[in-house]
């Protein structure tokens, strides 16, 4: 690839940023993972509590949910803490993280407990929601493994892996895993959540400034599925989850 085709940080269009998933970073949480996608850092912590929300009672099924927040100084300018009313964006993201995790949990074998995965963005440089999902799966794995090792459940209720990546069209080019400078002037922004076996859990694509056609969508999905495969490899490296 000619030099001029490289991105502002030297990556080729189909490359992830350096990704690290560090387990057991919080002493008090049952499972935890610091997910770093370049300068984006999300601290994911999974806790398990007895009982399920009211509407799910007496179902003999468990529940998995997520919360997402940013530290005020995570971005370039201080953001007010979300107090009185959660911002729509945070709500959307935490609903997405929750749905993504639930896609790979067998609620029956989990039993009537609630797993909450908190995703707190320590530093933001684009892709916080995809780092959250990718790291949350690791924290969830650890929490469920600890729960099983403590004899609370018979077997691991995880039915597979889930990871996520952002893809976008920037200056007309399809790029994988946008950082903040790329994301902030992307024409199309797509988040893809998928499994280790190449299936899709969620796709959310938005033409913030321009509309896009089916061919462009296909190119973005190709890039995204490649990224998810790499991320799932990495999750298996740190957890030894069987392929």
């Amino acid at each position: 690839m000619p030099f001029s085709d490289l991105r502002h940080d030297g990556r080729s269009p189909d490359k992830l940023r350096p990704v690290t998933l560090t387990r057991r970073v919080m002493k008090n949480a049952l499972g935890s993972c610091m997910a770093e996608f370049g300068d984006t850092k999300v601290l994911c912590a999974a806790t398990i509590e007895e009982g399920v929300p009211g509407w799910r009672k007496a179902s003999h099924l468990g529940w998995v949910t997520a919360e997402y927040a940013m530290l005020p100084a995570a971005t370039g300018r201080r953001e007010k803490r979300e107090g009185l009313r959660r911002k729509g964006r945070s709500m959307e993201i935490e609903r997405l993280v929750g749905r993504s995790l639930r896609a790979v949990v067998d609620m029956k074998s989990l039993g009537e407990v609630t797993v909450t995965v908190d995703c707190d963005v320590i530093q933001a440089d684009g892709g916080t929601r995809t780092a959250s999902i990718t790291g949350a799966w690791v924290a969830l794995y650890d929490a469920l493994a600890a729960w099983r090792d403590a004899g609370r459940i018979d077997r691991m209720p995880l039915t597979g892996q889930v990871a996520a990546v952002s893809i976008g069209i920037v200056d007309g080019r399809a790029l994988l895993d946008l950082d903040y400078p790329e994301d902030s002037h992307a024409e199309v922004d797509l988040n893809l959540v998928g499994t280790a076996d190449g299936r899709i859990v969620e796709v959310q694509g938005t033409g913030e400034r321009i509309t896009f056609d089916r061919q462009q969508l296909d190119r973005l999905l190709d890039l995204g599925q490649g990224g998810i495969e790499t991320l799932c490899d990495l999750q298996r490296q740190v957890t030894h989850f069987p392929k």
Copy 2:
């Protein structure tokens, strides 16, 4: 198609429900439209106010936003009014409606005004967000036309049409425009927002219970783009917007 392949209401898989878009249903709003997709009824009202939100001031650009709410008795069981904290779902939908409309508005020729399109669900039977977007475009068209006719702007700032439809996989079959009984046991649920010329504004697909593959995604997008074409035809019939 054999009789047994028809849906519970007799539709074939690629058929919309009966759709009507009734203009000028509110005396006091600059533009308004009652959008009915079968038994789903959404009252869309567009109002224009001087000024733009603080972060957009001095940009010489306009702003288009949306609000979405349900009457308490719109669904089969009474839902509490959203007071203190808006539900995440409503926020997600109103953000989607706003983004969809903004994709076809030239903010420069709109000038520093804010257009708010209120989408109030009078009756809910599946597809309230897609009916909202489709009807909101008509209300927006009427408000902007009135604004232009009042001499407030030189020309219509609409650059095109936008409409939306839901598609899903139900019992393994891809279906267009799900009603509530279909939606409530869909395996995959996808909302597609598109333009009259076949381009995509937004795609949001979720495997609530199962994951899906690229081939299934393609089938859903095909169905959705067909539906959007029909809805855009209907919008043009009621507004005489040029193709």
Copy 3:
């Protein structure tokens, strides 16, 4: 009456606007009614839920309550949705609607259920609270009839009819059923809630700009009781409730 004594819309002082009460306008509510007083349109929906508020538990008595809200575009200028804090005016109105309905319900034969009547103002042109009460009674009637027909109660717990009308002094003249232009410069504004047999449930009179004397109050009450009689006739026409 000489022509010059007629009101701006051609009505004589003791005339109601054209009133229509349309039943069963919402598919999902047990009882519903669109009440139109001229251009004022209120959608009333009655739902019944098991149980009563905490303070009424174990009383073997039912409860009837109301909620009142306006669509943002119901008036000439967009009103913000009431979120965080309900406006005092809405609270006052919904408390009034609730009290008015409770005056004609036998709580003992209703049993420990809660009936909620939602009054959502679709279009506002004066008299929204009186249209709400008049329409709410029809929605309540239908919900209770359905409840009885479903075998949930032995007999209709309604002990009578209730309707409401506004009366005011405008430019020194006592007028029945003020529309918005009249209401907005009324010197005295009175809302009367009454029964079909000529008794009073509630009277609320306010001299917003001037004070008034007993003689003026008497004239307003005469006009109001005439209006309520007409409204009760209309309620009986649509419901066949026995006089």
Copy 4:
């Protein structure tokens, strides 16, 4: 009157409880008054601030408003402080107090200031809203007199007096100035706000359990107007306001 016709505290039906209006009970407020109607005690404090609410700006008119709250221990059982959402009842009362005071203030000569009268119920034994109005007028008088004496306005902007009293039907008898035991089993409850010259500012009558007829309403109004006359006499005694 035979002994058995007296009320539980020995009053005849047309008698007020012992009423005292004590001025200047708060060191820091411009005007203040402790209004006592029997065991009901309301502390009224009037303060004046520069400026008027946004919607009234540039009108050259002043504004008078009120706030009403109860101390938690004011009633027989501790009431939670109204924090997050003000109760509907308090809102209704403070709106009523504000309207009542505005009826006797010349907003033009007041100028663009806002007078707030805080009515805090120290002890509640029925009639807190009528004690609030009656005492608030005295606090308002003192604040306006101080404002005038400080040279901020040329002349007293009060155009008259306003006072209020409750009347009700209890066990079939019309009674003036109900205390809590009477109020809690009243069949009809009416609050009357009037001026020293016998005119009506506001009338609010409710048949909480039974409906009432015009004749009963007349009897209640007669009693109420008698009570207001006595209260206005008392206000003049303490303030020397000219009749």
Copy 5:
């Protein structure tokens, strides 16, 4: 002491303002006390309710808590009522009052009830939190005595007295019981809560403008303990609590 060493109100540095503790000022509360420290007036009311907060259930222990608020007109300029979000200062004070009272209550002999002491500042002139604690103890004593006299508990669960006073460094001089003019330009501000036998319950010292050394702290504590002794004497005078 030379005249020039006296404070602006003629007190010597180690003197309290005139203090009065008036019992039984609220008819409806189980215990109540108006605590006046000079022009500071706090109305303290203690109520007892069955049950304890959730986290203390099944402990067979009681709970004592406090609430603190100011009337809007208590200070020189009107303060907005604390609605939606309690101010940090009020929260700090009510937590302090609660902790102080709990230090002298035997929770076991109290049994599973909650005592709430409401401290409402009627007039503020410095030292509202210390007047609150000192008066709250009297209200608490009366409520517990009434509870015992009603046979609800066998013996008085109070293990001692608690009182509080403020001390500060103003213009370099250590002063006892600061009034508002002194408090508002104090360099160091210290609140001391102590018992009748000279022990400390809580000490909170802040150098708002300057820092202070151990010697200064000692001088402040000496003054404070002297003041607490006097306040405890006064509490015993009004309650006859045994030393």
Copy 6:
């Protein structure tokens, strides 16, 4: 010291836990510091924004404030995020951190800007408020140094150092820098904020279960001042702030 006098983690009573202060841990904040006191980890980030709060406008003085929050999984059991109403404890702590920092800032040379120091507890094991203050000073130093280096101010507006430590009486013994197991059964809990030259900024001592005397207080203050000296040494090591 005999072995049995050591604490559960082997420390002698007058020893701090291992303390580390790591600068520049957040890419986007002007100043940041991870403060670790044993297993307690607090991320402190300082940001500077133009302008000051409304009440301080036109004073030519700057403002320094703090916010404090815990990640939900920071403690042994998941704590709900503080949304709607901040907990009293967090408010108390952030007010304390703000006051402590302000004691060593020359507001005049800072100019009309607001410095906010966010203290987010990543992991909690006792002493989070004292770690917050100690780390916040380092973050503040770095932010002010960067502000000066950017030419926004002429010279460093810090007039000294501030650090904090907790001290308590546990099982009758005075201990320095309590960890969570010690803190949770301490009889007396004291937080001391002081400067590098041995002066006191704030002292807050509470007898949660027992009261304490002057002699015990002196012993706690001695221990605390020793700890603060050590912490100030450490602050100077990492910042090279002149003694």
